[in-house]
């Protein structure tokens, strides 16, 4: 078991070592280092998930043999396994897609963007894996900061004034968020003398210091997750970044702080926040769905539309808080549904941003008004875009359908039908903004659009492959996933 547990350390060390190696290797070597790290990281994620699947028990590794509360533990439960696999898949696709953009041809002067891109890609991966695996709240803080510091430069990779301003705005929101989170850590440590998630879950009682800490930390993390009404930084940052970076930011980076919120509410302080607080979180999520979708409908630029759609899709995740809090059958269904929404959105949104990047390259612009007849010029890309859109709308068979169907069923089963209404309205609005793009592209225009640039078929295939993955997630059975519940059933029972 020790050998398997060491995989948890490797999952964090490997991309971190990649960052250092890429820095040493310079612009020409960075891409090769990143490709090796992607292959290794995918193997590690598969090995961890495979171990959890066969043994049915969570893995943990105590660093340096120092047991908590003095030492630090890394833990992998079913949720970690899902997230490790999702990030390996999405980062792998983004890495392959970005090879065409961030090359450093021999005999030309080195450019800065490729080196920075590959280093930050691996930096983001280090931060993500650390968030998925860290077992105490302070390590999670460090992981979250690593994630932010790697994500901000990706926004301003092209160095244009408006993207620099978007990056700075993102940075300021993220800084407020992380300091509020750290303040909550200080209060919890002052109250209980430990920040280890398992120890804290046994010690914490509903009392003022915990309420204040939880409120501060949740507010800070909501700012980082771009939960309505703290979403203002997201659209310019995600729409302004280059396609590969947008895909990474929208698909994975915002999910890091969300998962931290989940760990806080469900694992570290289970049952502390009352039903009212959980309803409030889901109400903000509902507002995000409605406002984000309506704003997405009104955008003239494709990338801004997709970015506002991220604001909306993040809203669904917050239905977890009122629906998955207890240990009943509906709650288990809601738990799987909420996490599936995260996975399905990550895969579909990455495919969609990369498709938008190819459309932008081919046309030289991304104004939706100029898309008539695009389906004839870029059939594969538009097909991939449509497949990813199916997942966002929640049409069967797609990952988004499975996730939303589970959340919908659970909300009706638990007698909280009002969230079901929001889920259905959200689906209709998503169909609205998707068809605004798809209808002119597939049906409009008498002649094919003249393309400004040729797009290699390999890159089209990568986008299509990821979109098909988003579709295949729809083959998942509509019931609580056994893997996702590894390491959870016991804690859920304690709550009840």
């Amino acid at each position: 078991m020790i050998a398997h547990a060491a995989l948890l350390v490797l999952a964090i060390i490997l991309p971190a070592a990649g960052v250092v190696l890429a820095l040493a290797a310079g612009g020409r070597g960075a891409e090769r280092v990143a490709m090796a790290v992607i292959a290794g990281g995918a193997a590690i994620a598969l090995a961890i998930a495979g171990t959890l699947w066969t043994t049915g028990a969570p893995l943990s590794y105590v660093i340096g043999g120092w047991a908590p509360p003095l030492g630090i533990a890394l833990r992998a439960d079913g949720l970690s396994a899902f997230l490790l696999l999702t990030s390996a898949l999405v980062i792998g696709a983004i890495g392959l897609f970005a090879r065409a953009t961030y090359v450093q041809p021999a005999g030309t002067p080195e450019r800065r963007a490729p080196l920075v891109f590959w280093i930050m890609l691996m930096g983001v991966w280090t931060g993500l894996n650390a968030v998925w695996l860290a077992g105490d709240l302070f390590s999670l803080y460090v992981a979250l900061e690593l994630l932010t510091f790697s994500a901000v430069p990706l926004v301003s990779l092209e160095g244009k004034p408006e993207t620099l301003a978007a990056a700075l705005r993102y940075m300021l929101f993220a800084l407020i968020g992380s300091i509020l989170y750290l303040l909550g850590c200080a209060l919890l440590y002052g109250g209980y003398g430990t920040l280890d998630i398992v120890l804290l879950s046994r010690l914490a009682r509903p009392e003022p210091v915990v309420f204040v800490a939880l409120a501060l930390m949740t507010a800070g993390l909501a700012a980082k997750t771009a939960l309505f009404p703290l979403h203002l930084w997201l659209p310019p940052a995600h729409a302004g970044a280059p396609a590969a970076a947008s895909a990474l930011l929208s698909a994975l980076v915002v999910k890091g702080s969300f998962i931290l919120t989940v760990r806080l509410w469900f694992d570290a302080l289970p049952g502390i926040a009352g039903g009212g607080a959980a309803q409030f979180m889901a109400a903000l999520g509902s507002a995000a769905i409605i406002v984000g979708s309506v704003l997405a409908l009104r955008q003239a630029r494709l990338k801004l539309m997709i970015a506002y759609s991220t604001v909306a899709q993040i809203g669904y995740l917050f239905f977890l808080f009122p629906l998955a809090g207890a240990a009943g059958d509906w709650e288990r269904l809601a738990w799987t549904g909420g996490i599936m929404q995260l996975v399905a959105h990550a895969v579909a949104k990455a495919a969609m941003f990369m498709a938008a990047g190819l459309i932008g390259e081919a046309l030289g612009h991304d104004r939706i008004a100029g898309f008539a007849g695009l389906g004839r010029s870029l059939p594969v890309v538009m097909f991939a875009f449509g497949l990813a859109g199916m997942s966002l709308m929640g049409l069967p068979p797609s990952g988004g359908f499975v996730a939303k169907a589970m959340l919908l069923t659970a909300s009706i089963g638990e007698g909280q039908w009002w969230w079901a209404v929001v889920i259905m309205i959200g689906g209709l609005l998503a169909a609205g903004y998707m068809f605004r793009v798809l209808t002119p592209a597939l049906a409009g225009g008498a002649a094919p659009v003249i393309l400004a640039a040729r797009i290699s078929s390999a890159r089209q295939a990568i986008v299509l492959g990821l979109a098909i993955c988003a579709l295949l997630l729809g083959l998942m059975p509509l019931r609580p996933s056994a893997l996702l519940e590894v390491g959870r059933t016991m804690q859920a029972a304690e709550v009840k």
Partner: protein, 107 residues
């Protein structure tokens, strides 16, 4: 009033002033400074907790002190990154505000 309570109150004042400044000031540089104030308040709180939780014969609980060191390093790098971004914004646009966001393309 024990010293721990006094320092605890000081940290509350710093956190309050920092949060107010970060939310109210429109200037990014002032926001960055206010966030540093907020951070200082948090670090002081860690110090208070370390002192309060001291075991017999020790000056303080070493775990919060270790966290503060990490926190200071993180806050320092965050400030450096934010200031570097602000400098680039100034070089590119000649402005140090965020008043003019990306042009809104709304139908």
């Amino acid at each position: 009033m024990t010293p721990a309570t006094l320092y605890g109150l000081c940290s509350a004042v710093l956190v309050g002033a920092g949060l107010y400044g970060a939310l109210v000031n429109p200037q990014p540089l002032r926001k960055i400074l206010a966030l540093n104030l907020l951070g200082s308040g948090t670090f002081l709180l860690f110090g208070v907790i370390a002192r309060r939780g001291a075991a017999a014969g020790l000056g303080g609980d070493p775990v919060p002190q270790a966290m503060v060191i990490t926190g200071i390093v993180v806050a320092f790098s965050a400030t450096a990154l934010a200031v570097a971004l602000l400098l680039r914004v100034y070089q590119e646009t000649g402005r140090t505000t965020l008043e003019q966001p990306a042009p809104k393309d709304v139908v």
